[in-house]
Amino acid sequence: MNGPRSGPVSNRGRATVESDTPSAAVCEVTTIVSGGSRGLGLAVAQRLLERGDRVATFSRSGSAALVALAAKHPGRVHHEQLDAADSDAVRRFVGNTVDRFGRVDHCVANAAVAAEGILATMADADIDAMLTVNLRGAIVLVRECVRQFLAQPRSLPDADAGAGSVVMVSSVVAARGSPGLAVYAATKAGLEGFARCLAREVGPRGIRVNAVAPGFLATDLSATLSPSDRERIVRRTPLGRLGDTADIVGAIDFLTGPGAAFVTGQTLTIDGGGAT
């Protein structure tokens, strides 16, 4: 499963920019990564910066790790503190990214919240938070990025990279199911259907849309698993271990890169074979 575990979201619209020198060269690749202050989003941001992208990200709160990453890549990180559920703030964020970096080439829709619990006793607020952030928030972000893809020149430093790409961060529970995660899984399954449809819709413009579906990761997301559950998952995984953030980052690096120029409408499951 992937996605930060947290309660309902609340804070709105407080903007912070954590990198220093603004620069607006229009020929470099810019990637938006939602939820980039920690966890998988932070790891994705780090990888993309290392490959030369500029990265724009937002999250409900900042983090020391993101500040350190921005300091390591001066002028190449744009961060705003906002709530993914706030459509107007997300819209402004994409506009601010374009103002700062000149364009958007890839979008990684990663921001998510998860509230565990059996459906029968789940509060409306938890259901609403997951639907709003995980599904609606991701859709609004991608809509804004697609609008930008359609508006900007297609030429990229690497022409094979195409006219823009989107990666939705789903979860293996969308396809496999898991008790206590029905609503979370519903949002992730929604993202996968969204990706398949949107891939067909914008494919004629060369825009690619894919999803990744991580399995259980050996991070704090799976720290709540009991030792027996953890052992059971590892035993059922052909590759014999839990996934690591790096496993997912590699897939996103691929899907947003020239190697995936002819890949769209796909969900790449990354769970060591556990779902097969």
Binding site: R147, L150, A151, P204, R205
Partner: protein, 96 residues
């Protein structure tokens, strides 16, 4: 349209430029774009082309009638170049 003022003429020019930009972006030969031209039948534009035109017009005219129409009555069908021009003229007039 039988009579247009200067503002509408400017809008019409922007609409035509956006249509030509879509042709360029999709490597299609440009076509004449008289106001009465049907977007689909005469100009060969599909719904994705129209979406791109709307995005481009938001950049040039500063409004998106569809995005800005939260909760209001649905727009009339957009079938011709003149329909687009009229929609943007009405949207901009309502804003001023």
């Amino acid at each position: 349209m039988t009579s247009i003022d200067g503002a509408t003429r400017d809008i019409a020019a922007e609409v035509r430029e956006a249509i030509l930009a879509v042709y360029r972006d999709t490597a299609r030969p440009p076509r004449d774009t008289p106001g009465s031209a049907l977007l689909g039948g005469d100009l060969g534009l599909d719904s994705l082309d129209l979406a791109q035109i709307i995005v481009l017009l938001e950049r040039s005219l500063g409004v998106d009638p569809f995005r800005d129409a939260r909760g209001s009555a649905p727009h009339p069908p957009i079938r011709t170049v003149d329909h687009i021009v009229a929609l943007y003229a009405a949207t901009l007039a309502a804003r001023s």
